[in-house]
Symmetry: C2
């Protein structure tokens, strides 16, 4: 296993200007992509979300062809790994006023990744997510809520922490999105007030539609979690993962809807790779 590769604005680098606004204010967005056989999965969806995030924050998005070329080249050096992309507003002065010398991009490639467990054990976190529609959905660099949530799981063998908002609605996992299955239909939290609209979440929703599964995006409460026949979480790295236990509350089967969706999403990932091959 070779080491992490890092590029800043396309050039190898291990250090960053101390005045970068990403450091000072979390003034930027990021993406985490899975690489399979040297191909970045769902690259266009990631670039699309990045562009939405930049627009929301008023950051000039980097040139898309440059980004795509850089990520594809890095993926070749990280064939079964992970690529992380950070875009910040760049270096600025002391104040909040969003002025900078120009957007900065950092691309990281890890050549391999930890294999995930097939199944997931969830715990409900005490940390709750604040309602902030101005930042909801995008994957920005202000992630202290997630850090507080993960901190609760230290010294435990729980894989994922589930977060509610202050109204008591379930929103997402600390690093994943949540889906419940009841009587064959899917339910996933609405993310217009908080949460990250994951790329894998969008893939699952599209796949569910293609499979003719009924899906509701709306308010999800603890009672829905209690009554669910199946539960799964998803993110770009692990794909769809069955939840087998809500710790201290309930166990779930790794059921047929989850299995069907996981297989369809994996197949789709393969198709995506094929398309990528053809489009080069």
């Amino acid at each position: 296993m070779t080491a992490r590769i890092t590029l800043i604005d396309g050039r190898p680098a291990e250090t960053l200007d101390v005045m970068d606004r990403g450091l000072h204010f979390g003034d930027g967005v990021f993406e985490t992509l899975r690489v399979d056989a040297g191909q970045p999965r769902f690259l266009h969806r990631h670039l699309q979300r990045l562009s939405v995030g930049c627009e929301r924050l008023g950051i000039d998005a980097p040139d898309r062809d440059t980004l795509e070329g850089e990520i594809r080249a890095l993926a070749g050096q990280a064939p079964d790994g992970v690529i992380k992309l950070i875009v910040t507003r760049g270096s600025g002065e002391r104040g909040y006023t969003p002025m900078s010398a120009g957007t900065r991009r950092l691309t990281f490639a890890w050549p391999s990744r930890q294999r995930d467990d097939a199944h997931c054990r969830l715990r409900l976190c005490e940390t709750r997510l604040a309602h902030q529609p101005l930042l909801a959905g995008i994957k920005h660099l202000n992630r202290l809520e997630q850090i507080l949530a993960r901190r609760e799981l230290r010294d435990s063998d729980v894989n994922e922490g589930l977060l509610m908002d202050y109204d008591g609605h379930l929103v997402e996992g600390s690093m994943s999105n949540l889906f419940l299955v009841k009587n064959g239909a899917l339910l996933t939290p609405d993310l217009s007030s908080c949460g990250v609209a994951g790329v894998m979440r969008s893939v699952v929703m599209d796949t569910a539609q293609e499979l003719g599964l009924h899906l509701t995006r709306g308010a999800v409460g603890l009672e829905d979690l209690r009554r669910a026949d199946e539960v799964f979480v998803c993110n770009s790295l692990m794909g769809v993962r069955a939840v087998v236990e809500w710790v201290a509350h309930k166990t779930y089967p790794s059921g047929p809807v989850t299995t069907r969706l996981r297989e369809a999403v994996e197949k789709r990932a393969c198709d995506d790779i094929s398309q990528a091959w053809y489009s080069r």
Copy 2:
């Protein structure tokens, strides 16, 4: 005017490790101090708030004597300037789980600073602050809300933007705390759900108590702003600054209570310097 000086863990540096969690997640806290005649103003209050912030986030605070020595030494090189201190959880790996090789401190000194206008013109921002009691009060590195607020003021000659929460309560300025004066008594927003509990705010509150002024910390609405006899904002750099206009709504006099508090705070700043001299 000489250039900015930056130290990372006490050593001169212009660049930072790309894996610092401050960059990746905003995982840290900061302080901005004013330096007068080579002395950092209200240093102990700043170090105290920093320590509260570190504790809230579960970050090991840097050794206090080391920090104090470093800031005092830098202040000597920035006699009428500004010192900024950032403490991050340090370098980590890709995930949110708060693990790192150890806390990192960055100290910045700017030898001089812009002179502030004596008076302030306020505008109400459309950006609102989210309720997040877990992060309220501390000065952490997740500052996208403030950036969105400052962004609204671009291309205007307004000095400060005022932020409400989603319940319609006034919270603070984008870079300052807010005080209203009505019939000689002070009113300032409660910050238990959102906002930064400024060091200068604490100085003003202590000073008001010493002067025998009545002060309420509670819910503040637009109607209070409309009815106020005097309004002022404050932060560590500008001290107490009279608000002379709520743009398009009302003008205020730079009144007697504000003047009295400003003078008492400035005197206190001098005392603080004297004490610092004696305690060395």
